[in-house]
Symmetry: C2
Subunit: 250 residues, 2 copies
């Protein structure tokens, strides 16, 4: 039995806790948050606390807080003998100011609107200073996912940036498209099959091979027609920049 306690009540904390309580090999010992009402969901399955003095030793203490809070918070845990990990993409492991440190980074977008996630395919990226701690993290990660990998802090940062492009910025392009449609009395529903097909295609084909569209074909007549149609200055900029980027690599 591996004992784990989680610090935080955000999306990652919540989704990890929901997974841990389901696993017989894991004892979700405590959850800590300054505002205890945010942990209500777990009060029947684990001990919820809002006073750090009540936090006990555990095999692993997971700091699932905002990036900027992680380093400072870890100082408060420096007298714990537990393995202390954070769950962030862009915070270096060395930012943890404790002895036994590690990272447990689930590479997926979590939001409150999506109740439970299938963790089995989510990449879990782990890192630790000591070999035994790394093995412990790999064991826990292996209970959740078939997709466990050890990477270093620089690679993790690169992966997070890749995710910003492939998820956050992609979603923003969906927003841009929805705005353009809305202005022309068209429903966003029209885009849904296309959006799925494009995401589906790169599951099998490298994206560089899957590229299509006027920029890829070098069809400047259409590109000009599109640019004169767009009225929003920043939308035009996005169109120009990504078109140039596609044209350059053909």
């Amino acid at each position: 039995m591996i004992s784990i306690s989680i610090i935080g009540a955000g999306n990652v904390a919540t989704h990890l806790a929901r997974q841990f309580v389901k696993l017989p090999q894991i004892h979700l010992q405590q959850m800590y948050n300054r505002h205890i009402d945010k942990l209500k969901e777990f009060e029947s399955t684990t001990e919820i606390i809002d006073d750090l003095k009540q936090l006990k030793q555990a095999n692993i203490l997971v700091i699932a807080l905002k990036d900027e809070a992680i380093s400072d918070f870890s100082k408060k845990l420096q007298y714990f003998d537990s393995l202390i990990v954070h769950t962030s993409g862009s915070v270096a492991m060395s930012d943890l100011q404790v002895k036994r440190k590690g990272v447990f980074y689930p590479f997926q977008t979590f939001s409150k609107q999506v109740e439970t996630m299938d963790f089995s395919q989510i990449p879990l990226l782990v890192e630790a200073t000591y070999a035994a701690d790394l093995q412990l993290l790999k064991n826990v990660a292996g209970l959740l996912s078939d997709n466990v990998l050890e990477i270093n802090s620089k690679q993790r940062l690169a992966l997070h940036i890749g995710g910003v492009f492939a998820a956050n910025f992609v979603n923003r392009l969906y927003v841009e498209a929805s705005l353009i449609l809305q202005e022309n009395q068209l429903s966003f529903d029209l885009l849904k099959p296309l959006i799925l097909e494009v995401a589906q295609k790169v599951q099998d084909i490298p994206p560089i091979v899957a590229q299509t569209g006027p920029a890829y074909r070098g069809d400047y007549q259409i590109i000009d027609k599109h640019l004169s149609f767009l009225t929003d200055k920043q939308q035009k900029q996005i169109y120009r920049l990504l078109t140039e980027r596609i044209v350059k690599t053909q």
Copy 2:
């Protein structure tokens, strides 16, 4: 029985022909292309021709050529009594230089790598000058898809531009992400579950509500860290522009 002939041998021509030959209500009468070898796939199911003089009257003649070729090509068909349609997003119906004109626009990305498509969910956008022709197009479209809509040429252009953002530019962001990962010895496979989840999410939630990430949270510490990590000038520009765009609408 509705007789249809297709002009062209590209992705749209090929995918439409593959659908039409399967439908008992449609007779795919002829397929025309200057290079007849590109039509070999259909030689057992329809008459393939490379001489325009052999083209017969049909209920519908579909011009599935490159955008810039459509208008000029239509002139060659001006003495036909058939309904003549093109399949393009960004070409106005009025660009067809014939009397009975229309548009039959399947809103999906077609590529040779994907053999057959499930057309039932693909939006089919139709337009025609005459009411009877519009009805004919709606009937044909209804045989292929549950998602048939009449829109005008301006709306179709807007929809195409929306598709460029939500498909072509999205795919380019996948490419950017893959380049960032590659430079750091990480496999693109790591991004696949995230990409699917983001596309899946907007099937149920409007993209503006689904937005996550450092820009959405206004986390400038992370944003600065990401910008200093990126070395490619244009990648930095894309990062800045889309971040600004997300921040502005929060």
